[in-house]
Every structure is written in C-alpha cells, then in structure tokens.
C-alpha cells in the first residue's frame, strides 16, 4: 500500500513567519531526518513564511545532504508555497551543501586556492 505524504509546516515548527535562526532550522531538520529515516515522503510547506536566512536553510535542509543521498532527498522531499526569491536562496544553499559534503577535502582545497588567487593584503 502506498504511504501517504506527510506535511511539515515551517510556520508551525518555528512558530513565527521569521525562519531565521539556525536553532529553528535544526528543529526542522530533526523532523525531516526522522521521516526520511522511515522512508516517508514529506511536503515541506513555506506557507506564511516571510523571512528566511541561509543559516536557517543550511541547518534545516543543507544538513540533509550529509546524511541522505541526493537521490533520496529528490525522491522524499518536496517544497510547497515557496516564493520565487526564497526558492532561489534555497537553491544556492543546496548547491553549497552538495559541494560541502561531496568532498570536504576538495572544499578545503577550493578555499585555499581562492586565497592564493585572491589579493589579500
């Protein structure tokens, strides 16, 4: 039997339209990780969210890429009622997270290379 999709409302978890604190993002992550651990599909609703930060999204969603595969996340997670500019921010957070978790040593090397190319002082 097909399991029904569960819904997580950011507003409900955070209790406010301001999804800005990393600690609040962690609460969202814990719910998502628990659901994904049971192979449950989740619709994550951004309804009534007015402000997001990269710190919140890194904790809530970026962090998932360290524990679950891209394929699992693609299959299990769906976002709803999200504004276009928030979606653009989420996309950048996800791209950075994928890079971060793909190869941490390479990520560090990129950091070093950036400094060598940079102009410093």
């Amino acid at each position: 039997m097909m399991r029904s999709e569960m819904m997580i409302s950011l507003f409900e978890v955070v209790g406010s339209p301001l999804c800005v604190a990393s600690g609040d993002g962690q609460k969202v992550y814990e719910r998502l990780a628990a659901a994904f651990g049971k192979d449950r599909k989740v619709a994550l609703s951004f309804h009534n969210v007015s402000t997001l930060t990269s710190a919140f999204l890194n904790a809530a969603i970026g962090q998932l890429y360290g524990r679950f595969s891209e394929e699992q996340i693609l299959t299990l997670l769906q976002v709803e009622d999200i504004q276009q500019d928030d979606l653009a921010l989420l996309k950048r957070v996800i791209e950075t997270a994928k890079q971060y978790f793909k190869d941490p040593e390479k990520f560090d090397q990129a950091v070093r290379d950036a400094m060598e190319d940079g102009d410093g002082e």
Partner: protein, 290 residues
C-alpha cells in the same frame, strides 16, 4: 583614567578611534574610566553598537565607566536610542522615531532579536517606505548578520545592535557588534589558514568559504549580504580583529587598523529609496532544486 573621544563617524576613522580606545583600556581592572566627550562634535548613532561593546567589556572587567561632557545634541540622540540609560541617564521619547534602539542580546536570544527587528524595523511607520522586495532583502540581511554573530563569534559577552534612520537622506544605518574571537582567529582555528585580519574578512565574504565544520554546511551569509548591498547602492563595513573592510559602489577596501577590535562589527548602510524589484529574471521550479 581619562580617555578623550573625538568625532565619531561610522567610517574607517570612527573605527580607528574605537580600536584606540579598546587598546588604551585593555588592561584596566577595578578602575574608574571617564570617557570625555567634550570634543565629540559628531556621533553616528549606530556606532553605539560597537562603542557599547567596548564599554560593556570594561564593565565586565569590573571597571566603572562614566561618560562626561557629552554635547547636548549628542546626549539627546543617545538618550533617545536608550544608550545612555546604560550609563545613568533617563531615556527620552523619540518623537520623530528616527532611532533604532541600542540593545544587547545573548547568543541564545534569537527569538528576542526577531521580536526587536519586527517591532523596531518592520512594524514602524517612521521607517521610510521601501518597496516590498527591498524591505524583504533588508530584513534578510539583518538576520544574516545576527546569525553570523551567533554561529561564528563564540561570544560569551553578547551581541550589540543599534541603528539610525535618516529620512531626508533616504538612508538607514544598522550595526551589529560582538565580543567574540574575530574572523582571523576563527578561520585559523577551523581551517588552519594564517591570514592577516583584513584578508580574513575578505576571505569570509567569499561565497564558497566557510569555517563551518561538521554536519551543518555554511558559507553564504556574508556573500549574500555583499550582493544585496551592490544592488542596493548602499555600503557594508566589517571590522574584525585589526582589519577594516568596506564594500560600496562595487568597490572593496581592505586595510589594517592600528589596534584590534575585540570581536567583530558588521555595519550596513541601506539606500531606502532603492526601487530595484529584486525579482528573479527567470522562474525557478521546485522540481529542479534538489
């Protein structure tokens, strides 16, 4: 001990004044410290955040701080924004509503900070009307700055905020200061990179760079902030350790200061008359992002 405070602008000269004060008083313990402000003919109110951080640290070291000979015009502003309430004076009403109050937060006060921003910046009629897109970007920026202080500063002495609105000049200044380990040491401890203080700030503002290690990725906050400021036509200044960094009009300056600031200050200047829509040029699909 007596220290004179000259004019105090929110620019490189103002930060140079501040780090000199921090250096002069660094070793003070159980002292009476008088800050003589008779020559302070100008005081950019948002600088209360960084100034308040230095004075708070002096209090933590059991010194008694007194502000003396404050010119009346400056005393009025600093009483309106609540700064002088910390130094024995009464708060006075801000009839024109151009101040954004001085506040000290603990790192766990993120909900309280959100309430402060809602009350003082979002739901206030005195804040110049901004386009919806600008207003949202501005809010995001303020929260990114605060989150950075919470996540990276390791401060035990708090996070200090203050702002000022200049309606006729279509400008809003807002500063966040912390008394944490500063960017240079944070980068050194987490990545092993040995950078000068100014180069460390430059490093932290690059998109792919992060000192975050472990399960939560990071590295976007200051990059997003710089991108917004470039579009808005405003300015961002960061002081951390003995480094000063400024970006405005698409140009970046990174120079050393004579002494270190004992933490980090991030200060933004917003052009409130900006009419950019901040809408995306192409539509994104929720199916394409994971």
């Amino acid at each position: 001990m007596r220290c004179a405070l000259p004019e105090f602008h929110h620019d490189q000269s103002g930060f140079a004044t501040l780090v000199r004060l921090a250096a002069e008083t660094e070793e003070c313990l159980f002292e009476n410290i008088e800050i003589d402000m008779h020559a302070t003919r100008w005081f950019d109110a948002d600088m209360c955040a960084a100034f308040g951080a230095i004075l708070y640290r002096l209090g933590k070291n059991l010194n008694t701080v007194r502000l003396k000979n404050i010119p009346s015009r400056i005393a009025t502003i600093l009483s309106k924004n609540g700064f002088l309430s910390h130094y024995g004076q009464e708060r006075i009403p801000d009839r024109w509503g151009t101040t954004i109050p001085y506040h000290r937060f603990d790192v766990k006060d993120d909900r309280y900070f959100a309430g402060y921003i809602e009350k003082e910046l979002i739901h206030r009629t005195e804040v110049p009307s901004m386009t919806l897109g600008l207003s949202k970007k501005f809010r995001e920026s303020i929260f990114e700055i605060f989150s950075n202080a919470v996540l990276h500063s390791h401060t035990e002495l708090g996070i200090f905020c203050c702002g000022q609105i200049f309606p006729k000049r279509h400008r809003l200044d807002f500063s966040v200061a912390d008394l944490g380990i500063g960017m240079r040491r944070n980068i050194q401890q987490n990545t092993g990179l040995e950078l000068s203080p100014a180069a460390a700030i430059e490093w932290a503002t690059q998109g792919q760079n992060t000192t975050k290690r472990g399960s939560v990725p990071g590295g976007l906050g200051l990059k997003l902030l710089s991108e917004f400021i470039d579009l808005n036509g405003g300015c961002i200044q960061i002081v951390s350790d003995a480094g000063y960094w400024r970006r405005g009009q698409m140009e970046t300056v990174a120079v050393p200061l004579s002494h270190p600031f004992p933490g980090t200050v991030v200060n933004i200047e917003i052009n409130t008359a900006d009419t950019n829509s901040y809408r995306l040029t192409s539509e994104l699909s929720t199916a394409d992002i994971f």
